[in-house]
């Protein structure tokens, strides 16, 4: 075979190549429609609204001017501090309840169930029924003279004056029920990922089932638990429909206040300021997640 030695090209500069335009631009071309949509219809409105919290508005003419008026915040926190705390407590209780209720089920689906996809679908099934209808169904079922309480009262299991609606329990229960899929799915993702061999290894190293669970499964599921917590707690803290339908006088949540401020009294600075506080709480949660568990993993669980 003849040797093909390339001609001596040294001394001539090789032509510099440009990456084909399509290649470098393609992520932008592909992503642009969705990104632009989100920036224009999510980020910009959000920032605009947040800026309202430091504006001053006239409630008849509704003229607002940017006054860098931060005084709204301490006022509102003073006035609605209890409501805020209540919202956080309810959302926290609902989230913990949802976690506790959902964890064994997701564990079962991830580790033991045969038709995983089917049961995952079952978790999502409530989504196919309007959330208003679901909540109304609970309302009807739990009414003071509704199907459930009447029977309990006939059996004298609860006193005649017992009621569930208009109590914190009803609101927390409603929140926990409605946000369950958001709790269950990240949990499932986290548990599904745990390598079965790690479990075997732990048994090999003399771990009982309980020890394997507490020392292997739980720590490995922590990012998922945190993601589930975030995805349940944050929307629940801002929710107002559950409290509006199922709650009563002393179960008012901050979402209801914001809604009233926005839609009834058009008190934009106050509503925006309250929303800002809510958002800040959420961002603190996300930041904490990113700090402790790395920002990469956030997306993996949603």
């Amino acid at each position: 075979m003849e040797q093909h030695v390339p001609a001596d090209l040294h001394g001539v500069e090789p032509p510099r190549r440009h990456t084909r335009l399509g290649r470098s631009a393609s992520p932008y071309l592909l992503g642009a429609p969705a990104i632009v949509w989100l920036v224009v219809f999510f980020v910009v409105p959000l920032v605009t609204m947040l800026s309202l919290s430091i504006q001053t508005c006239d409630s008849i003419t509704l003229a607002c001017t940017l006054t860098w008026h931060f005084a709204e915040f301490p006022n509102l926190i003073g006035q609605y501090g209890d409501t805020f705390v209540r919202s956080l407590v309810y959302a926290g209780a609902a989230t913990v309840a949802a976690l506790v209720v959902a964890f064994p089920v997701t564990y079962w689906i991830a580790f033991r169930a045969k038709r995983k996809n089917f049961f995952l679908l079952m978790l999502l099934v409530p989504f196919f029924v309007s959330f208003v209808i679901r909540t109304t169904a609970w309302y009807t079922l739990l009414a003071d003279n509704g199907a459930i309480l009447t029977k309990l009262k006939i059996l004298h299991l609860v006193p005649e004056s017992f009621h569930v609606l208009a109590t914190p329990l009803a609101v927390i229960g409603g929140l926990a029920y409605n946000y369950l899929p958001f709790t269950a799915l990240p949990l499932y993702v986290a548990l599904e990922r745990i390598d079965r061999r790690v479990m075997e290894a732990s048994h090999d190293l003399y771990a009982t089932r309980r020890v394997a669970f507490t020392h292997v499964v739980l720590p490995l599921a922590v990012p998922g638990i945190f993601a589930a917590f975030l995805l349940t707690f944050v929307p629940a803290a801002g929710d107002y429909v559950n409290a509006a339908i199922l709650g009563g006088t002393n179960t008012v949540m901050i979402g209801q206040v914001i809604q009233k401020k926005f839609l009834e009294t058009a008190d934009y600075p106050a509503a925006s300021a309250l929303s800002t506080v809510l958002l800040v709480l959420m961002l603190v949660g996300i930041a904490a997640y990113a700090k402790f568990l790395g920002s990469r993993t956030i997306e993996e669980y949603v």
Partner: protein, 294 residues
């Protein structure tokens, strides 16, 4: 060496009659399945209530849903469109959900492709934005969007509903499709291009068929989110009334049984679609090559 000696002293398996052994299971083995069944039952309570009470008779001049069972009837199914304004609201929701699903599925798929395939400036920010979008309380989304539309002097109605629905669906679609894409071998696309397929042909012949179950799952999620949305729609609907908005309004005075009929219809359709998607996905998974050891 002593272990080896011991080993050889054990009679070989052939010499022993097989001992029938049943795997002994402690009662705790059954707690999880039993608990899970109870959990799913609990999840289904309000849905069951809806389906069952869509067959409940009513003797009132103005039939409304109550928890009192008054006898079986299919009357409400025959008169499914008997409530004025509910039917248009229902169809508005269907139309809105369909269009929002198509748009968000398209945009979300494209974004997912960009996120999985490329590293680009702003990728991290995009992912953060998506997460914030998903986690943000709906009331904040709706309220800020309303303010924005008013600022732009955009009349509220179908178009603003559509914008809002795409806005809150697109991140979900992106995440779902991306999950599917990350298991996708990019070599397949290179192979197609190597065999003479242009990027366009490659997308239609290779990429799309393979990620289709992911897109379907994302679209299904988008459809469910859209048709169920109340809070955000509430802010941006203008004078349009969607199904959840109508129901929320009616809930305050008592809802007609037709709401349960239409709710059951949406639920059944969603279930059928989801099961189809499941079957489809199962088949697609079977068609994927098993990773070779080595």
């Amino acid at each position: 060496m002593s272990a080896l000696a011991q080993d050889t002293s054990i009679p070989s398996a052939k010499d022993l009659a097989p001992v029938p052994r049943e795997r002994r299971r402690r009662w705790t083995y059954y707690t999880l399945p039993v608990y899970s069944s109870a959990f799913f039952l609990y999840l289904l309570i309000p849905i069951t209530f809806m389906v069952v009470y869509s067959f409940n008779q009513s003797h009132s001049a103005l039939p409304q849903v109550t928890s009192k069972w008054q006898g079986f009837t299919t009357q409400w199914y025959q008169q499914w469109n008997g409530v004025p304004d509910l039917t248009p609201a229902f169809f508005l929701s269907i139309k809105l959900a369909l269009i929002a699903t198509v748009i968000s599925a398209t945009l979300g798929t494209l974004l997912a492709l960009a996120l999985v395939r490329y590293r680009f400036r702003g990728k991290g920010a995009t992912e953060q934005m998506m997460f914030t979008n998903i986690a943000a309380p709906e009331i904040v989304l709706g309220a800020s969007l309303l303010g924005f539309f008013i600022t732009l002097n955009l009349p509220r109605g179908f178009s603003t509903l559509l914008i809002a629905h795409v806005m809150f669906c697109v991140a979900y679609v992106t995440i779902t499709v991306r999950a599917r894409l990350s298991g996708f071998d990019p070599m397949l696309e290179q192979a197609a291009q190597d065999l003479g397929a242009t990027p366009w042909v490659t997308f239609w012949k290779i990429t799309l068929p393979l990620i289709f179950p992911g897109i379907l799952a994302g679209a299904l999620l988008a459809f469910a989110l859209s048709i169920d949305d109340f809070v955000t729609s509430n802010f941006v609907a203008g004078s349009s009334v969607t199904f959840p908005l109508w129901v929320y309004g009616a809930v305050k005075v008592g809802i007609p049984p037709q709401v349960f009929v239409l709710g059951t219809a949406i639920f059944s359709a969603g279930l059928v679609l989801a099961v189809l998607a499941l079957v489809f996905q199962g088949r697609a998974k079977k068609a994927r090559p098993e990773p070779e050891e080595g």
